[in-house]
């Protein structure tokens, strides 16, 4: 990503955040409103500055190229979607059942060892078992920290 585009994106993100909070400030009053309003004003001004800076960089040709590091976007999307699905099924299945599904599924889907499906399934199963046992022993057994409940366990 070029530096000008980064500035514009950062500026728009800041403006969006300030606008979202501003729209929510209807019922708030007093110091409880004054303090966030000061921050919102600051963020909005900074956002406008960054957008203007980005546009200026693009027009004046001072738009530096990015670092060009290759990103495996499919893998990023897979772990992101997998994590979202994991958070969604935890209250349905229970923490450990959902973890088994997530750990095994993600390890299979993101397998990059070049091994065949049987070997990949074996290493995914080992990872799943070790993690679930370690978390159960550490959090539930030793420290008695509650885990989210669900239909299963």
């Amino acid at each position: 990503m070029r530096s000008g585009v980064k500035d514009i994106a950062a500026g728009l993100f800041s403006l969006l955040a300030a606008a979202a909070f501003f729209c929510q400030s209807g019922d708030v009053e007093g110091v409880g409103l004054l303090y966030p309003q000061l921050i919102m004003g600051f963020i909005a001004s900074g956002g406008v500055y960054l957008v203007a800076l980005g546009l200026w960089k693009r027009r004046s040709g001072r738009d530096e190229a990015g670092d060009g590091e290759a990103v495996a976007r499919t893998r990023v999307a897979m772990i992101a979607v997998g994590s979202l699905a994991y958070a969604l099924i935890i209250p349905l299945l229970g923490f450990y059942a959902a973890s088994v599904v997530f750990l095994f599924g993600s390890a299979m889907a993101l397998n990059d060892t070049g091994a065949g499906p049987r070997k990949a399934a074996l290493s995914a199963s080992v990872l799943t078992m070790i993690m679930c046992l370690a978390v159960w022993a550490g959090f539930s057994l030793l420290l008695h920290v509650p885990t989210p409940d669900g239909l299963l366990f």
Partner: protein
């Protein structure tokens, strides 16, 4: 005092107490290294265990867990860029780059030795200067705390000196996020976006896990790397790190430990603020500040010595005034009260045996932490030989259960995910996640003290400026804040002048 010291040292050689110190340290380090499990939680979980022990042994064990947990956070901060406790946020700034540069063992050993040093300095203050320092801490009211937080926030100027506007915006975004939940002045819901559970507010730890850990998972999975970092254990690294710390970091260690102790004494200000301020000060006074954030021992030493020195500082007002300087100190205070021990100056006379045994045990615990930490480092560093994909998936699981454990709420799991995506996006567009974290940590304290100042100005019928500028401490802190904000410009001016002088000499030659 002297009549209590020798018997106190004698208590420390009791085999049961030695065992409790080692067990407490080991448990504390593991708890601290696990994201979401804080020192407060570790100590609180062990309070019932101490009821089966006598007061001295129980207190020694709680102290060991506290020390271990604060240090333990550095392990996950260095190895997986996940601050195990909020105090370790600043450790990620250099610890994680060191790990990525193949120097994981160096980073872990530097954090271990610095933590031990900081802990010992904090305990020296606790032993010799408890009374005057406790009286000094009492002079911190709303305006002083407000300016202290702003001084902490001014760190952003140095932290993001290459791109200060983005750093300041990121810090402000963090402060804005910290306003979600109940308005502390009117106790009314604020910025909940129609989602009722948000009334609980955004908890710091899940936000940190999201910003530093989940966002790193997304980055690492997409990076085509087979392992987190290449790592080959180098013989004699312990000696090399110890020598480097002794030779080049002694001023940093001492300064950071003093900052940590002073910040630790202030109620509400903990290791996270101390480590960030110390990191900032080390960077500011260094001849090569541009090397910070790229993986240097000095950065790790500053952060870790400060956050462990906080322990001694936090125990000062707890023991002398009954005012805990941190959440963990509050839990220990509860344990003391449950045992029928009343904090105050009498704690050093009527129950002097107990008080001095506890203080001396802090020295012993900080020394014992080195061998115990060395063993655990050897185990934890093996994490780097596991394939990155597996580590990333495991981090997601630990992040979720760790954040859930804080309030038993799925909201915190969603906060991890949301801040993970925000952190990933911010890294792409070069918004500073460290500054955002600082805003989230300091935001509630700034708002609370800002509100106190406004109420105070109304109560005395004066202007708010009068309240803000009313004390010498506030004026000193304002000066420090302005100096901090001006530092990047001063450094740039100094650099330009040096370049100009070098250019002039070259021309003359």
């Amino acid at each position: 005092m002297s009549e209590f010291i020798l018997p106190a040292i004698g208590h420390l050689f009791d085999p049961l107490n030695i065992f409790l110190m080692i067990a407490g340290l080991t448990g504390g380090i593991i708890v601290g290294a696990l994201p979401g499990l804080t020192a407060t939680m570790g100590v609180a979980l062990l309070v019932p265990v101490t009821f089966a022990l006598d007061s001295t042994s129980g207190l020694i064990m709680l102290g060991a867990v506290y020390v271990g947990a604060i240090y333990g956070g550095a392990n996950s901060a260095c190895l997986i860029c996940t601050p195990g406790t909020p105090s370790s946020v600043a450790t990620t700034f250099d610890g994680w780059p060191m790990c990525q540069n193949g120097e994981a063992d160096k980073a872990l050993l530097a954090s271990l030795l610095s933590s031990s040093f900081g802990g010992i300095v904090g305990t020296v203050f606790l032993l010799f200067l408890a009374a005057p320092l406790a009286r000094f801490a009492l002079r911190f009211g709303g305006p002083e705390s407000f300016w202290l937080c702003l001084f902490g926030l001014s760190t952003i100027a140095v932290m993001s000196s290459g791109n200060m506007v983005k750093g300041l915006i990121s810090g402000a975004l963090g402060m804005l996020v910290a306003t979600i939940g109940l308005d502390p002045h009117a106790a009314a819901p604020r910025f909940t976006f129609g989602y009722y559970p948000l009334i609980q507010g955004v908890e710091v730890i899940p936000a940190m896990i999201g910003l530093f850990s989940f966002s790193q998972v997304l980055y690492l999975v997409g990076s085509h790397k087979p392992y987190i970092a290449s790592y080959s254990p180098s013989p004699g690294v312990f000696g090399r790190v110890a020598r480097e710390l002794a030779r080049t970091c002694k001023v940093i260690l001492l300064r950071s430990s003093i900052i940590g102790t002073l910040v630790g004494m202030l109620p509400g200000a903990g290791g996270e603020i101390a480590s960030i301020i110390s990191y900032n000060e080390s960077k500011r006074w260094d001849k090569e500040p541009e090397r910070y954030g790229k993986g240097i021992v000095k950065g790790v030493a500053a952060s870790e010595s400060a956050n462990n020195a906080v322990i001694g500082g936090a125990l000062i007002p707890m023991l002398t005034l009954g005012i805990p300087g941190s959440a963990v100190a509050a839990v220990i205070l509860g344990a003391l009260l449950a045992k029928g021990i009343q904090p105050g100056f009498k704690v050093f006379t009527v129950t002097g045996d107990l008080a001095y045994t506890f203080i001396m045990s802090q020295f012993a615990v900080n020394l014992l932490m080195i061998p115990v930490g060395l063993v655990l480092i050897k185990i934890m560093v093996r994490l780097l030989s596991i394939r990155l994909t597996f580590v990333a998936i495991a981090i997601v699981m630990l992040s979720f259960i760790g954040s859930y454990a804080i309030r038993n709420s799925m909201l915190d799991v969603w906060i991890v995910i949301a801040f993970g995506f925000i952190g990933y996006f911010c890294n792409l567009v070069k918004l500073d996640t460290g500054a955002m974290a600082l805003g989230i940590i300091l935001g509630p304290m700034i708002e609370e003290n800002f509100g106190k100042c406004v109420s105070l100005s109304k109560a005395v019928d004066g202007s708010i400026l009068q309240v803000f500028l009313n004390s010498n401490i506030a004026l000193i802190l304002i000066f420090c804040t302005l100096l901090s904000l001006a530092t990047p410009f001063l450094l740039e001016w100094k650099r330009k002048r040096a370049r100009g002088a070098a250019g002039g000499e070259a021309k003359d030659a």
